[in-house]
């Protein structure tokens, strides 16, 4: 098991670099040959983030509250991830998708990297430069920079999501858009529910 974890760690590192430099080629390999063990590292990064977010949100070191908040966030993120994978799989099959569920699970797991990066960045900036932003030159400049970085990460996420459907379900663009058209509203309702419950204000997808 330890060997498997180490091997997966190396594979995760290589894949992460690949997703930055050559996303298309890397996704082809990941969806076909990627192991579920690699997702342990994505989950570990997310758990580190949830702990940090709890520390920032609770704003006091009370272990029980911190752990409860972190567990709620982690469970909500896990359920969201499983829901996305299942819905994409079911809808994709209806549109003639041919891939495997494991391929989609691994592919969608790696799309969590831009999400975790954005949430990490936002929570660190919350500590360093807490909101609200003002309309001064410095405030506007920071806002523009923040939005540029956020949009860049969003484009990365979109690309990885597209590649998950392209390689995971072997669909063409029109079918990918159709799947997104069905899955999008479902996840919109889910995200609204998460918002109403006060778990995630910005969807952790």
């Amino acid at each position: 098991m330890l060997d498997q974890l180490i091997m997966s760690g190396i594979a995760f590192g290589r894949t992460t670099i690949g997703l930055v430099v050559r996303p298309y080629e890397t996704y082809r390999k990941v969806v076909g040959k990627g192991g579920a063990w690699e997702l342990v590292y994505v989950a570990a990064l997310a758990i580190v983030y949830f702990s940090l977010a709890s520390l920032v949100k609770v704003a006091a070191f009370r272990p029980f509250l911190l752990s409860k908040h972190a567990v709620v966030l982690a469970v909500a993120a896990l359920v969201t991830y499983m829901l996305v994978v299942c819905v994409v799989w079911l809808v994709g099959k209806q549109f003639g998708g041919k891939g495997t569920m494991k391929g989609i699970a691994v592919g969608w797991g790696y799309t969590m990297l831009p999400t975790v990066c954005w949430f990490f960045m936002t929570s660190l900036l919350y500590i360093l430069l807490p909101p609200p932003r003002t309309a001064s030159i410095a405030g506007t400049g920071f806002s523009v920079l923040f939005l540029v970085v956020s949009t860049t990460l969003f484009f990365w996420k979109l690309t990885l999501g597209y590649l998950t459907l392209r390689f995971g379900l072997k669909l063409d663009l029109w079918r990918i858009l159709a799947v997104v058209g069905v899955v999008g509203p479902v996840m919109g309702v889910w995200s609204w529910g998460m918002y109403r419950l006060g778990i995630f204000r910005v969807p952790f997808l």
Partner: protein, 76 residues
């Protein structure tokens, strides 16, 4: 040596035929050109597109973007 080349060719061939070809009618060349840029080191395109989107947003809503960023910063 011949076997290695053949195996490489076979793997590449399987990769190519594994996916349905993407055609968008008259827009196929545009799509291909766009996707080609995303295949290797897409970050310059991501950053430039993001900067363009944010500038357009800034011209549309002005300093209200600070309010949007405030909401996003509290959104984690």
């Amino acid at each position: 040596m011949k076997d290695v080349t053949y195996k490489k060719f076979l793997t590449r061939w399987e990769q190519v035929v594994d996916l349905p070809p993407q055609t968008l009618g008259p827009f196929t060349p545009v799509y291909k050109s766009f996707i080609r840029r995303l295949k290797v080191m897409p970050w310059p395109y991501f950053v430039l597109s993001a900067a363009a989107c944010v500038l357009i947003l800034y011209f549309l809503i002005g300093s209200t973007i600070t309010l949007l960023v405030t909401l996003l910063q509290r959104g984690f």
